[in-house]
Symmetry: C2
Subunit: 411 residues, 2 copies
């Protein structure tokens, strides 16, 4: 593993002429192009001329299920030094109306974040760090903990003091040192732990989000899989927090077109909670990055006060749009998905919510894919609420089924 990456260097997303060697991976964005007013991420460049022609047709090692996961796409990923857990290879589930749902709850820690952390923990191994440090209130932290454990590295998670009940157990499960601290303390502590303990930081460290140079690369595999399974869709609707997933999905499609393996790139729709929406605000105001006040929302996985330039690139270069589904729309989409057998957390329903609230003036040419990022077990309300014992007498049970609209059989 990790031997056949075609990664060559890092480049600024603000200016492709600003280049850095591949190692060490930049964890604070692009220092040369960023300023106090805007933070620019870097991305990874590859030797595209050497990508095999059958890139999209190559099956996964071991017939598709060998547990090595992203290795199928190793040529266009950073070196995968960390062992895999069978991340990726998630199904496209077709809803009754023909919309496809890319069910990312089928990853090793049941969210899309595993694609990112396979890459970031590989980076930590690559630089010889004894551990990773991550500021996260949920999926990112647990996923980092799982991949660190698998790779034999330590992990510190700077988490939220008030995670949902099941999420708390999840964060603790993989042996990470979990420190619930106030939000304002998380980023300075990440810096300090990175500096004083030599731990590799796998979450953001800049004013506007830039994140880890290698992380978003892992999300490109979502696009590769969609094309391998379905061809190029007309549009992809992506739950959007800091836009790493959005950017990765866009870049994956853009690479396939560049390689001549496909002819076009789908329109990318960012789906942020209406209570916030820094990417929508940046696009509206003609800025690269901006900050907003975030109001009340239960979509805690994607409530962000600042955007990343990455998301702006994905939306503008694909001819997409920034959508702002509110909590009611997300709840509606969550219920719609549950009614089709898919239980997702509220943030994960933002993609379908965006589609369902799309103005009728928008046209999409081709199949539509909504990314559902994570399972309902991570939801805010999961593990709360009441559950009263039912009267087991037949009369009571019968009445309850009748009240639920069920009908006795005709005989």
């Amino acid at each position: 593993m990790g031997t056949d990456s075609l990664a060559t260097e890092q480049r600024s997303l603000a200016d492709p002429e600003v280049r850095y060697p591949l190692w060490p991976p930049l964890t604070r964005g692009c220092p040369r192009t960023s300023s106090p007013d805007v933070s620019y991420p870097v991305e990874v460049d590859y030797d595209y001329a050497r990508v095999p022609e059958d890139f999209l047709r190559t099956p996964a090692p071991g017939g598709g299920h060998s547990g090595t996961g992203l290795d199928r796409w190793a040529p266009l990923l950073p070196p995968l030094a960390a062992p895999g857990l069978g991340e990726g290879g998630t199904p496209l589930v077709r809803l009754a109306d023909g919309v496809y749902v890319k069910d990312e709850s089928r990853n090793p820690t049941w969210s899309h974040k595993d694609r990112l952390n396979r890459c970031t923990v590989s980076a930590a191994l690559g630089v010889g760090a004894p551990g990773v440090v991550v500021a996260s209130s949920g999926n990112h932290g647990a996923s980092a903990a799982a991949y660190a454990a698998r790779a034999g590295l330590r992990c510190v998670v700077l988490g939220s003091p008030t995670p949902p009940p099941a999420m708390r157990s999840f964060l603790m499960a993989y042996g990470a040192e979990v420190l619930p601290v106030p939000t304002a303390d998380r980023w300075p502590l990440t810096e300090r732990i990175a500096e004083e303990f030599g731990f590799h930081p796998v979450s953001n460290l800049t004013r506007f989000h830039t994140g880890h140079a290698f992380g978003a690369e892992g999300y490109k595999t979502v696009a590769y899989e969609i094309v391998a399974d379905l061809g190029v869709p007309g549009a992809v609707f992506v739950p959007t927090g800091y836009g790493e997933l959005l950017f990765g999905v866009w870049k994956g499609f853009a690479e396939l077109r560049r390689l001549g393996l496909t002819r076009r790139v789908p329109r990318l729709f960012s789906c942020e909670p209406a209570a916030g929406g820094p990417l929508a605000a940046a696009l509206r105001d003609g800025l690269h990055t901006t900050a907003v006040e975030v109001g009340a929302t239960d979509a805690y996985g994607i409530e962000c006060p600042v955007n990343s330039y990455r998301g702006l690139v994905a939306v503008t270069r694909s001819g997409g749009r920034a959508l702002l589904p509110d909590d009611a729309a997300m709840r509606g989409a969550q219920a719609e998905l549950a009614g089709q057998g898919l239980w997702v957390e509220l943030s994960a329903a933002a993609g379908l919510a965006g589609l369902r609230t799309l103005p009728t003036t928008e046209t999409v040419d081709g199949p539509v894919v909504c990314v559902a990022t994570s399972s309902g077990f991570k939801d805010k309300g999961t593990g709360t609420g009441s559950y009263a014992e039912a009267d087991p007498s037949w009369a009571a049970v019968r009445d309850r089924l009748l009240a639920a609209g069920m009908e006795p059989a005709r005989r």
Copy 2:
């Protein structure tokens, strides 16, 4: 979908000469061979002569991830009338010591039960039932609810009054009518709802477990996938409650050998909680079925007072053994898996726990696979416990990391 099944009829597991038409599927075992002292299940027979030679090499529709799931194996399954959710296709994750874990938490409702319910809900559609009814305290019920919702059928779950907190939310998620009733009331109510509302029963209705005729067939796909990915292993360790999974896995391997696609069948090890263990007791006492007192165990997914003849068939015909890991062994295996990045519920760790407690006199020739049935989100303790805010001062954080055995970097 559902057009290319080679299923022909149902047969008694007690006597293969006792046959029934394929429809309707039997939901109360084999009436002709069962008696008050022993309940015998039926299984499905197929026109094996017509199985395509490339059965194991045929990729899944749509390149492996199209969301149709078990359809890849449709010739050797009952007709799959119910739409899929991309069940199956789960990864084999290789642990540090070379043992493989078949991670069934990667299914649509994050347990192996989805393979069963694709088949049982297909049966419900096949008989024209308006809904399904299931007695279950967990994974089975939620999975049935998801597949029923996907198929447009109603679902009644007769559940436990005291499920783990996150499990309660899970059971409620798919719009099923969930009735928490005392254990003793569940089976009579299942019968009555089946009779008076015409709902198709997808859980057991006999004194000793027989279950649904089509259900265990779905589990054969675990064996097909293992062989497609790895070849025939030396042994498979299976968390065992009523033994449907155990039997299905054995039957899948046995079919491949019968078809000449493989040369042998691995040894099947049943892994029941030491607090119960009716299959181990039946084997010890030379009985086909028996009942035991079940003591205290947190492995609530597999604590069963009676066994099924199915499990006995799997263990004896494969030259396997009945193992009885206790809760401490299961906790040890659960911790070992978490340390490799896999968080499973306690019951799901029974397979690895069985392997780890195997007497050294047992030899296994070839790779070992442990089936991990379900995610840690379903565990009894998930969503409980405390989580105190940490002191965010650097001195306190530093002390905590040092206490956890982390070391400052040398500079």
